[in-house]
Amino acid sequence: MTDERLKPVSSLRRAMIRPELGAICGVILVFAFFLMVAGDSGMFAPAGFQNWLVVSAQFAIIAVGACLLMIAGEFDLSVGSMIGFAGVITAILTVQWGWPAWLAILVTFAICVGLGAINGLLVIRTGLPSFIVTLAFLYILRGLTIWLSILTTRQTIIGGVREAAEGDWLAALFGGVIFKGFFRWLGEIGLLETFARGARAGQPVVEGVPMLIVWALGLIIFGHWLLSRTRFGNWIFASGGDAQAARYVGVPVNRVKVLMFMFTAFCATVFAMCQVMEFGSAAADRGLLKEFEAIICVVIGGALLTGGYGSVIGAALGALIFGVVQQGLFFAGAESSLFRVFLGTILILAVIMNTYIRRLITGER
């Protein structure tokens, strides 16, 4: 029964050929490119660092949810609309209704995660592709958001959230920075540039680590741990790979998928809360196209659109590439409309490379 045609595989090759390999190469290329064209523009100075890290972290937050859902075999196109919806709900509850911020945030999370569950249950019960079901929610939620906003405030932008959330313990988790003291100390000992003039003279140019980055790191670590170290993660792969086979051996496929829709909605809400606390306002058009940007990060990161294959680390690297390119072109002084050209090109190159790598791993032809 020996198959003499089986080829031995070296452990080095095994360690190299990973789903994230394409994204790792992409990160190296993108950094090399921008070091050359924008190396002296301040992009790699502390303030510049913070600038593109924050943008990358935004992408990473929604990419983690989209990644796990895609590996489980489903899509969520309502992520962008969910971001706008969550922000407006929180703003209405705090600014218009005068609720304490913590309660408004908790209720928003409950509503949005509940909507995620409805998305999931509709996909499971009807057997329709999630593409269609969540496309419907893309429109339903965006429409509801604009209508609710106009109904309560007669405008599509609701300001004053930051004032309403001042001093709130839960709102603090989504806005502001941490490690302020550490960064001030870095400034004092000269490791970090400080403002020379103006109202903030003597303070470090980077105040601390924005909560947005803390959330992104937390979600990436959680997602990676869940996917690669837990039984549930194994079930996510199995549900996306062959749902029927997984059901036969007792994997609760429906529960796995619905939970992943809920997690995606949770990530979208985290994104919305961070955005609302940063801007101090909510707007009905926030989050436009975010669903596609999340999917692009995940695909650059090596995941397969049809499910069953991918990595959270890859998706996070995809988000980093996205953020660096978007902000890097600005630093390089390029025409901003070229951003999309650049992005589309990277997407195609990444997918071609990832397909090749995946064939090396899985042996599919």
Binding site: M1, F237, A245, Y248, V251, G308, I361, T362
Partner: protein, 246 residues
């Protein structure tokens, strides 16, 4: 004592009687070939034993105890495993992950429980060695041959120390060399004292690995005899109805 004992088992689907009055006894470690034309009731019988649905008439005893299965997991809990025709493997997972899917091994570190990939790979490798299959535990199933895939599906049944394995057309869609591999796997199961019910259309398979052959026609059992006392010609005649009973 018989491992499995069916008494007067029948199944009605509305006005259609798919199976009527079937008696069947399986001894421990015995391999029985279940044959019959399409629509003869083979799948119905297997699905009743596997717990996919309950019989309309009759009773089932396993290990001497009366059993009433309503879900496949009931049958699995007493020691009956099924190797489905399409094998029910997730192509994107490794062989080891497929063997352990749904009953993964975990390691406890503080309050957290982590997948124990190392232990699962090791145990799966042991199972493949036991089945004398060259399947590598850490390989992805998508890249495997039909015979290797069968080995993965069969290793899954070994994991739970099943007493009875139902195999639905395991040799239907694989190459000649792989058929030999699968028949070897079935012999290996018998060596470990596992009883096997082999559903097959292929006469040579049944006559080379089974101890007994059972023939169904139009929902009734028309023959149940040792393969040594029968012949492929006789079984063909029984399946087609050229011969009424034996």
């Amino acid at each position: 004592m018989a491992l499995l004992e069916l008494r007067g088992v029948g199944k009605d689907f509305g006005a259609i009687r798919a199976l009527s009055d079937v008696d069947l006894t399986i001894e421990p470690g015995e391999a029985v070939g279940l044959m019959g034309d399409n629509g003869a009731g083979k799948s119905t019988l297997v699905k009743i034993i596997a717990g996919n649905f309950a019989p309309t008439h009759g009773s089932i005893a396993f290990d001497g105890q009366p059993v009433h299965f309503t879900r496949p997991v009931d049958a699995r809990n007493v020691g009956i495993e099924v190797v489905y025709q399409d094998l029910a493997l997730a192509d994107n997972l490794t062989a080891a992950a497929n063997v352990f899917l749904g009953r993964e091994l975990r390691r406890r570190i503080g309050p957290f429980r982590f997948l124990d990939h190392r232990a699962m790979n090791r145990r799966a490798s042991e199972l493949f060695a036991e089945l004398k299959s060259e399947t590598r535990a850490s390989d992805v199933v998508r890249a495997m041959s039909g015979g290797q895939r069968q080995a993965v599906a069969i290793a899954r049944t070994r994991l739970s120390d099943a007493k009875l394995v139902l195999m639905d057309e395991p040799t239907a869609a694989i190459s000649v060399r792989q058929v030999a591999e699968v028949l070897d796997l079935i012999r290996r199961l018998k060596d470990h004292g596992v009883a096997v019910i082999l559903i097959s259309h292929r006469m040579p398979d049944v006559f080379s690995v089974c101890d007994r052959v059972v023939v169904l026609r139009r929902g009734r059992k028309v023959a149940d005899k040792p393969v040594a006392a029968s012949s492929p010609e006789e079984v063909t005649a029984l399946i087609t109805g050229a011969k009424e009973a034996a």
